[in-house]
């Protein structure tokens, strides 16, 4: 049951072959069985999940018309507020906080009747590429438990690849959905900036943050994408336009005559041989399906990483000022007579982890007078050049492609002492965020040298998210027929998988 795709689960629920309660219980059992090894979840909400499942089953029995994903379980990244359920963003500063409201994404999931199994682990405030920066300990990659699942949405990615949930929600500020999807052999999409409401998404870098879906197939990912997306008056940056028809795009599997642009700057040196081999094979497959492969030049991408590590820390230094020990979250040092300022200083020292402090300090520096123009100002101009590179490239191709991550899953601890090495994990995903466009990662196979999953990244212009699914579903179909099944079928059992 848990090995089925979300689309198959949906069909089984509709036909009456199973119930949402049974489906939810089998996922809770699976979590119980393997999550002590994977540590994907920070909070498992079994009671609410089963209650929601029972409600959907009753509605179905009463003949109510339901959403296709009604009754299907999901894992939710702990960065999204859910009323009455502990929400920490992976930070000690929010330990025990129960939001008094639902984020818009959670409202939409509930409206569709989706069963939320619990909250998943993440790098603190989504700052990281390995989930090792969580205040609650790392998550482990189901393909190899000595390795990271990527990050920052590593908990959501690991939950889906370990069959603890068929679909999951993540968020992607510099690659935090696509990179963990690549490292765990699943599909992840960062929608166009503004396509999914940020209301109730705990802010890291507001001009870059975007929530999006994970699934084990392109179609499952599209089904969740459609639920999450849509205009929201509560988010002033939400796009007031119709949601692209991603589900029918995911069923189209058609690339005939499409132009696929390979970005010259996102390959070559720094990319693992096995990653490049799987990437090039996928390109050949797309060509054999009738796509035209062209090379495109994006010279400013060389500076994207540097621009990102100024813009995101600058925005975070401002956004995280809200954690002031006054209205919610941790408060320490509040002894008789202590000043508000000293309580704030002590609380932020105790509540924030190492990487969060590092980025707040970097952002404070980049925004300080005397350095503003040289750092933050220059980064904003690089951002313009990156947008222009994309614009030009999209006149030459319908979609652009690259490897998602230059390397496969790395060992726990391997990069945690070297911030610059860790930042390089996002080199191929960051340009999408800076330009506010959309991107997908889907599994392209296993690298020869280490047997670990490789991700293939597809990028499309703003609000053309359907193109990701058209090309992604075509490539997926070709790969599945070549492999004789999905890549995720090869993930180790972790003991007791049925």
């Amino acid at each position: 049951m848990i090995k089925k795709t979300a689309a198959q689960m949906s069909a089984s629920l509709t036909s009456g072959e199973t119930t949402s309660v049974a489906l939810t219980q089998s996922h809770l059992d699976r979590i119980n069985e393997v999550d002590s090894k994977v540590k994907a979840f920070l909070h498992v909400d079994g009671e609410n999940a089963l209650a929601q499942a029972a409600k959907v089953d009753a509605e179905r029995a009463a003949g109510k018309k339901l959403h296709p994903l009604a009754g299907v379980p999901l894992a939710l990244k702990d960065v999204l507020a859910q009323e009455g359920v502990p929400t920490t963003a992976g930070s000690k500063i929010l330990q025990g906080w129960k939001p008094p409201y639902d984020s818009t994404v959670v409202s939409k999931l509930k409206q569709a009747g989706i069963v939320i199994l619990g909250k998943t682990n993440m790098d603190e405030f989504a700052m990281g590429s390995s989930t090792e920066n969580s205040g609650y300990g790392p998550t482990f990659n189901p393909w190899d438990l000595t390795r990271t699942p990527g990050g920052s949405s590593g908990g959501s990615a690991a939950a889906v690849s370990a069959f603890e949930a068929p679909i999951a929600v993540g968020s992607d500020t510099g690659g935090s959905i696509r990179q963990p999807a690549a490292l765990t052999g699943i599909v992840g999409v960062r929608p166009t900036y503004g396509a999914v409401s940020r209301y109730g998404l705990i802010a890291y870098s507001s001009s870059l943050d975007q929530a999006g879906p994970f699934g084990r197939t392109v179609l499952d990912t599209a089904m969740l994408h459609e639920v999450m997306a849509g205009h929201d008056p509560k988010d002033a940056t939400s796009i007031n336009a119709a949601v692209p028809n991603v589900v029918s795009a995911a069923r189209s599997a058609d690339v005939k005559g499409k132009k696929i642009g390979v970005i010259k700057q996102l390959q070559g040196s720094g990319y693992q041989a096995g990653v490049l081999a799987r990437f090039n094979e996928s390109l050949d497959l797309l060509a054999s399906l009738g796509a035209e492969i062209v090379e495109v030049d994006c010279p400013s991408f060389e500076f994207a990483l540097a621009a990102y590590y100024l813009i995101a820390p600058s925005e975070c230094s401002s956004n995280l000022a809200r954690f002031d020990a006054m209205r919610y979250g941790l408060r320490t040092g509040d002894d008789n007579g202590a000043s508000a300022e000293s309580v704030m200083n002590a609380t932020r020292e105790a509540g924030f982890g190492r990487e969060v402090k590092r980025r707040i300090i970097l952002g404070t520096y980049a925004l300080s007078s005397g350095y503003y123009d040289a750092y933050y100002g220059s980064a904003q101009k690089i951002r313009t050049l990156i947008i222009e590179d994309y614009k030009k490239a999209f006149t030459q191709a319908d979609v652009l492609v690259s490897p998602t991550s230059p390397i496969t899953a790395f060992k726990i601890g391997e990069k945690s002492e070297d911030p610059i090495a860790m930042y390089l994990a996002d080199v191929a995903t960051i340009p999408v965020n800076l330009a506010g466009i959309c991107g997908m990662s889907l599994p392209a196979g296993l690298a020869d040298e280490d047997g670990l999953p490789v991700g293939f990244q597809i990028m499309a212009p703003a609000m053309q998210d359907q193109r990701l699914y058209e090309v992604g579903s075509a490539l997926e179909a070709a790969l599945v027929s070549k492999w004789g099944g999905h890549l995720i079928d090869q993930v180790p059992a972790l003991g007791g998988a049925k």
């Binding site: 590590y309 007579g337 200083n345 707040i360 300090i361 970097l362 404070t364 904003q380 951002r383 703003a462």
Partner: protein, 99 residues
Amino acid sequence: MSSLSRDDVAKLASLARIEMTEEELVNLASQFGSILDAVARVQELNLEGVKATSHPQPIENIFREDVVQPSLTPEQALSGAPAQEDQRFRVPQILGEAE
């Protein structure tokens, strides 16, 4: 090669309201040079005449009618408060006795 001293980091930490330990200050100062060198790459290009982008979407101010709508109750709003009193957030002393 850029660098920041331990005292520079201490000044930034104080601006950011984080009371760092001596060990943290020294560690961060030692890492900062290589981080600044990496991000200083944004200064390699001639950016004269290039407009700055603060946001990926070309949107103007978004307005709505100012009408009364249901919102959080005082109990809900205070539910996460570290301390409260008389339906208000209780905060530590804001002004020093000497001021």
